[in-house]
């Protein structure tokens, strides 16, 4: 048992190192065109920045949104942006999986002794997605400026990164579910986009402005709210819908992990399906 765990750990370590090396290859390839990357990031920053304009327009006319002040919505917006930005950055390989399948490159993945998912995840990293993360950081600073009474506690400092990383994990798991669909049909990106881009858009605003069905959906079915809304509520000391306890914010990583494991199992099932049907 002990040696089994040891070999598992050493395998995990080797996989992590391989991941780092594969990503380093991608970075080196992209950085061959440095100017290009820089312009891409700047463009993406301004495009994603535009997404924040409706918030400013709204609060130009109304003092609050269901009791949420501009600074509070900005904080939620920033956290959602950073989560989604990380997912876009690190989930690029999964996001582009339909192309991998279409070009027949998944065969090559299966011809190598390294894990298939590891190879797919590390097949791409899109630096321009740093634009969205930058946007998130800028709005985060703005939000703190708009929240004069806000004070940090050690627990709040813990909840913030946990939430962002958990949110990113759920977003990546959604991308993985979308990629898995590619084993059945290649035309799936739109379905995934509804959940990723649509989810980011919806969750940039307080969850309670939506009907209860949609709230339940993002809490219990596709738990994106655990990475965005719930941690934000914890930071702001706001109550959660359905009388859920605020301490749930600390459970975000577990919920995200569970969702990711389900997505992973579905992926495995998809790979088996690919092996029996071809593409």
């Amino acid at each position: 048992m002990r040696s089994y765990i040891q070999s598992m750990m050493s395998n995990l370590l080797l996989d992590l190192r391989l991941y780092r090396r594969l990503i380093a290859m991608q970075l080196r390839a992209q950085l061959q065109y440095k100017m290009n990357v820089f312009i891409d990031i700047a463009t993406y920053l301004s495009v994603t920045g535009l997404e924040f304009v409706p918030v400013l327009i709204y609060f130009g006319s109304f003092p609050s949104l269901l009791g949420w002040k501009v600074g509070e919505v900005a904080l939620l917006f920033a956290i959602t942006s950073m989560s989604f930005g990380l997912a876009e950055l690190f989930g690029a390989g999964i996001d582009g999986f339909d192309e991998t399948i279409r070009r027949g490159e998944f065969d090559r993945v299966l011809l190598r002794p390294a894990g298939a998912l590891l190879q797919v995840v590390s097949s791409d990293i899109r630096l321009r997605r740093l634009g969205r993360i930058t946007e998130g950081l800028l709005i985060f600073v703005l939000a703190l400026g708009l929240l004069p009474g806000f004070s940090w506690t050690p627990l709040k400092l813990l909840v913030l990164p946990l939430g962002i990383v958990s949110g990113a994990l759920v977003f990546i798991a959604i991308l993985l579910l979308g990629a898995t669909l590619c084993f059945w049909t290649v035309e799936t990106t739109e379905i995934t986009n509804i959940l990723t881009y649509g989810g980011r858009e919806l969750l940039s605003y307080p969850l309670t402005i939506y009907n209860q069905g949609l709230q339940r959906f993002f809490l219990f079915l596709v738990p994106l709210a655990f990475g965005t809304y719930i941690p934000t509520c914890y930071l702001l000391g706001r109550p959660l819908p359905f009388g859920l306890p605020g301490a749930l914010a600390f459970g975000a990583p577990l919920v995200a992990l569970a969702f990711a494991l389900i997505a992973g199992a579905t992926w495995r099932f998809g790979v088996h399906r690919y092996q029996s049907t071809g593409s």
Binding site: Q32, D107, L111, R112, P113, G115
Partner: protein, 351 residues
């Protein structure tokens, strides 16, 4: 001899959803898909010994790729039994992957934007090869494939021949026992082709790597593979030597006779003013004439070549005689087009 590949009665049937035309058709297809079964591989048995070099030949869509995918564990066979290097390819896919190398002529596994050496270094980690072994293999392959001149060039800037050499090195760095090559010389010029073939012969002879290659280029097969397997319509049609197939299906050989100039003048002429040889032996016909040359075609069973030469020599003054064997390319084409072996395979199955 120990087997590297053992496949017994391998078959693969694909379910292909047929699309109905129009929007209502598309909707109907979702609810009630019209499924067609395509038998890509049928009852294929193949045994390849360690150290062999076998050419897998067949027209497009014959089932070659499907066969290779089943042998590598990418695809699960619908029926039959397969072992490669003693492993079950599907259940032990990753273990098998570290013991085989695969080169697709049309698809590179190298990192497009980076220097070749970066890809070759990274593969060590993808395959978990010991550092020392990797260093030795890389040094050997660099020498054999002359990689040094373009090791630091981004792959996208390599010529097709250089890229193929890079891909071969990439596939061999982890010391595979078995190398699958899919169209390894496609699109290459004559010199590059010769170089690749030379290399493949060398690794087969020196390292004992078993090679299974699919190709459309019959020169590849003639020069590399003592054994050839022909597949068409998912069935194995032929398994044997290249020479034997020429013997069996070679059809007619050609004799080119160059007659003495004085002799030509005495021979009867056709309407175009070209000489015509009269009263040829049975089974021999004149196919072309361009004084002083005359082309005679004759069946293998009609008469031995030396008798035809003797027959000509007795009647005409010959300056030169040469023979042309049928091109293996033509032989194979005839086999596909006329279904020569297909009917045979079906017949033998019925019996």
């Amino acid at each position: 001899m120990e087997s590297m590949i053992e496949a017994e009665h391998l078959s693969k049937t694909f379910r292909v959803a047929r699309r109905r035309p129009g929007l209502s058709g598309a909707l109907r297809s979702v609810l009630d898909p019209a499924v067609r079964h395509v038998e890509a591989v049928q009852d294929l048995s193949l045994r390849v010994a360690r150290g062999e070099m076998v050419g897998l030949v067949g027209p497009n869509g014959a089932g070659k790729s499907t066969t290779i995918k089943m042998l590598t564990g990418i695809l699960v066979p619908t029926g039959g039994d397969v072992h490669v290097a003693g492993l079950n390819p599907v259940r032990q896919r990753r273990e098998l992957a570290s013991r085989i190398g695969v080169v697709f002529g049309q698809r590179s596994q190298l990192w497009w934007d980076l220097p070749l050496i970066d890809s070759l270094r990274l593969l060590r980690h993808l395959y978990r090869v010991q550092e020392k072994r990797h260093r030795e293999n890389l040094a050997r392959l660099r020498g054999m494939l002359d990689l040094d001149e373009f090791l630091d060039t981004p792959v996208r800037q390599l010529s097709l021949g250089q890229r193929m050499r890079g891909d071969l090195a990439a596939a061999l760095l982890h010391d595979p026992e078995l190398l699958y090559l899919d169209e390894p010389t496609i699109g290459l010029d004559v010199v590059a082709k010769a170089r690749i073939r030379e290399f493949l012969l060398a690794i087969n002879a020196e390292q004992g790597v078993t090679v299974l290659l699919t190709t459309h280029d019959m020169d590849d097969v003639e020069m590399l593979c003592p054994r050839m397997v022909i597949i068409d319509h998912g069935r194995k049609l032929y398994d044997g030597t290249v020479g034997e197939i020429r013997e069996r299906f070679g059809g007619e050989r050609t004799l080119i006779a160059v007659l003495d100039a004085a002799e030509i003048a005495a021979i009867a002429r056709d309407v175009q003013g070209q000489p015509v040889l009269g009263e040829l032996p049975e089974g021999v016909r004149q196919v072309q004439a361009e004084a002083p040359r005359i082309w005679l075609s004759f069946g293998r069973d009609a008469l031995p070549a030396h008798e035809l030469v003797a027959w000509l020599g007795a009647r005409y003054r010959l300056r030169d005689v040469t023979f042309q064997e049928p091109e293996i390319e033509d032989v194979i084409r005839r086999i596909y087009e006329e279904g020569l072996l297909l009917t045979e395979a079906i017949r033998s199955k019925r019996v």
